[in-house]
């Protein structure tokens, strides 16, 4: 038996075809899990209230006059946009992955004939419909308050915005996989992620619109990946970007998606060799 040649491994296309076939079921089961965790899910949603806190602060500041291009209504539109985009695109895969590597529960995913990254993607994508439901009131208020500037009533910007949501989700997912996979090498990667999160809060436009940052910080935010996870889709949504700027940003966003996707897969491949599958 040992002399037998190893059959050639199926290609990426075959892998993808298998995943595409399994994905609807994975999503359906994932939605059932989200529903089973409904209380925890809602509590988690409520903890994402920082945009509303920031809205209250900036709304008060803008009462005496606009801050840059932002008057009270612009702040309301912006932070409701932040809330909606954040809830639609964020996920918690770094915590899950770090924990599953530490306690060995990743083993079950590694034993299945589809790559665990796809399974994790399905797990987290399946939370999106429920999140969309939760943010619908905020989206309705956003539409009411900011209708005149929303997407500049431009069909191309609408398409860019929708694509930027996909890009933001993928970028966040891949960076989280990358940081989570560091747990293959060190005992926990959550410390690194907390550090990342701190920088993200400032340079993504989560706490403050990037326009309100000092020039040097704004310049840094323009080239770093954080803006493409949140600020860019929000800016496109609330009409802060021209069609040209939005298309350029979209290209940059997908460039980052490709970079972090490759980095995540690379670190995973090397890391899984170090997996100790403890606990069992």
């Amino acid at each position: 038996m040992s002399g037998e040649a190893v059959p050639a491994r199926p290609g990426f296309a075959a892998d993808l075809a298998r995943v595409a076939k399994a994905f609807p079921t994975l999503l359906r089961v994932g939605v059932s899990e989200v529903v089973a965790y409904r209380a925890e899910f809602l509590v988690w949603i409520l903890t994402t209230n920082m945009p509303l806190v920031m809205l209250a602060i900036w709304h008060a500041v803008a009462a005496d006059g606009p801050v840059g291009h932002f008057d009270q209504r612009a702040f309301t539109t912006y932070y409701l946009g932040v809330l909606a985009v954040r809830l639609l695109t964020s996920n918690w895969v770094v915590w899950q992955l770090s924990m599953e590597i530490r306690d060995g529960t990743l083993s079950a995913k590694l034993l299945r004939p589809i790559h665990p990254i796809y399974a994790l993607a399905a797990d987290h994508l399946s939370a999106v419909p429920m999140r969309a439901l939760v943010i619908s009131p905020a989206a309705a208020i956003l539409a009411y308050v900011g209708w005149d500037r929303l997407l500049r009533h431009d069909g191309v910007l609408l398409l860019v915005f929708l694509a930027s949501l996909v890009g933001a989700w993928l970028l966040i997912f891949f960076t989280m996989i990358l940081m989570g996979a560091i747990a293959f090498f060190i005992e926990s990667s959550l410390g690194i992620f907390e550090l990342w999160l701190g920088v993200h809060a400032i340079l993504s436009g989560y706490l403050v619109p990037l326009e309100a940052l000092p020039h040097w910080a704004r310049s840094a935010a323009d080239v770093l990946p954080f803006r493409f996870m949140l600020g860019f889709p929000v800016e496109a949504l609330v009409g802060l970007l021209s069609r040209h700027d939005a298309l350029v940003a979209l290209a940059a966003q997908f460039g980052y998606v490709a970079f972090f996707g490759a980095a995540a897969v690379g670190v995973w491949r090397v890391g899984v060799r170090h997996f100790s599958a403890y606990g069992g």
Binding site: M1, S2, E4, A5, V6, P7, R9, P10, D15, R18, K21, A22, P24, T25, L26, R28, V29, S32, E33, A36, Y37, G104, T105, S107, A108, L110, L111, R112, P113, I114, A119, E187, R273, F275, S276, A277, G279, G280
Partner: protein, 334 residues
């Protein structure tokens, strides 16, 4: 079907003494130790074979199973399962095998097992009719019809184990790695599980490699055993031969109609236990027929049975002797 040659696997583990001081020192300077979990292990298992994989805690059994299932990369040596190198985790290899670990579950915790089955059907790309049929049969055999629609977290350990087995066998694997598959089950369910594993093995010609601390599992299922200790192979062969080699004595159980003197019993063999109703003697194999004749003529026997020594005792003696040898060797060297 399984070909393991000169497999070694070592881990690098962080080591520190207990206490706050040691914890603080470990922040600045970490001490690591290399643990040799498996060393130079070789064995082969043919299609359809059932093999018990035995050894004391920490012997390297689970590490070996994890290497065979592709979860761990070997440090050196070669491993093939079917035509595949496990750690490459080719999807076709993963279709071929299953790993059931008594302590670890693939069942989705907050959903009923039926949802895990649906998920596995999609992941393994099993035609719906085939998956439904397999689930129906397995559910019937394991008598879990009323469990598969309850959330997993509400099931007992034994119930979960049975549901877990269905999930693990849904894709009809040809190689079963079973790590403590009967853990948490009551005696009658353990027996059912054994029947079930044997039936699966015979029906699908699947190779089975099983670890268990319940020696009844091994006796009932595995004509052959591979025994390892401290990562080294110490025996590979027939289970009965192992028992005979380690414990050449037979176990003779006598039910008596009245109490007899211990001295009379000691003339026949070593007294393992004795009370008013029953006596257990250990008798060398060569003297067995003479001892039986003497016992029948001299003692008030109601019933007499002869068995091999229980496997638990065989293993205890085997590993005890090795521990003693190791201690003596280390004393001689140091």
């Amino acid at each position: 079907m399984i070909d393991v040659r000169n497999l070694s696997k070592s881990y690098r583990v962080h080591k520190r003494a207990p206490g706050l001081g040691a914890a603080l020192r470990s922040v600045l300077r970490r001490k690591y130790e290399v643990v040799q979990a498996v060393e130079d292990l070789s064995f082969q298992i043919a299609e359809g074979e059932r093999v018990g994989f035995l050894g004391p805690n920490g012997a390297g059994k689970t590490t070996t199973l994890k290497v065979l299932a592709g979860l761990l990369h070997p440090t050196s040596g070669s491993v093939r399962v079917g035509s595949y190198v496990p750690h490459e985790r080719d999807p076709r290899f993963l279709q071929l095998i299953t790993l059931v670990m008594g302590q670890k579950q693939q069942l989705l915790w907050d959903l009923p097992p039926s949802e895990t089955y649906a998920m596995n059907r999609a992941i393994y790309d099993i035609p719906r009719a085939q998956a439904d049929e397999t689930v129906r049969k397995l559910v019937e055999l394991l008598e879990i019809g009323d469990l598969v629609d309850k959330p997993t977290r509400q099931l007992s350990l034994g119930e979960r184990m049975k549901c877990e087995l269905v999930a693990a066998l849904l894709h009809r694997p040809r190689v079963l790695f079973l790590d403590e598959p009967t853990i948490g089950l009551d005696v009658s369910m353990q027996a059912k599980m054994r029947d079930f594993i044997r039936d699966y093995n015979e029906r699908f010609g699947a190779a089975v490699l099983l670890t268990s601390h319940y020696m009844d599992d091994v006796v009932a299922l595995c004509p052959r055993v591979v025994v390892i200790d401290h990562g080294h192979l110490i025996y590979d062969g027939n289970l009965q031969e192992l028992a005979r080699r380690v414990r050449p004595d037979k176990r003779m159980t006598l039910r008596l109609s009245r109490l007899v003197d211990r001295a009379d019993l000691e003339k026949l063999g070593t007294v393992v236990s004795a009370d008013a109703a029953q006596v257990v003697l250990s008798v060398p194999h060569a003297r067995l027929s003479a001892v039986v004749q003497s016992a029948l003529s001299a003692l008030p026997i109601v019933d007499l049975t002869i068995e091999e020594a229980p496997l638990e005792e065989v293993m205890r003696e085997l590993f005890g002797a090795r521990e003693k040898e190791a201690r003596e060797a280390s004393r001689a060297h140091g």
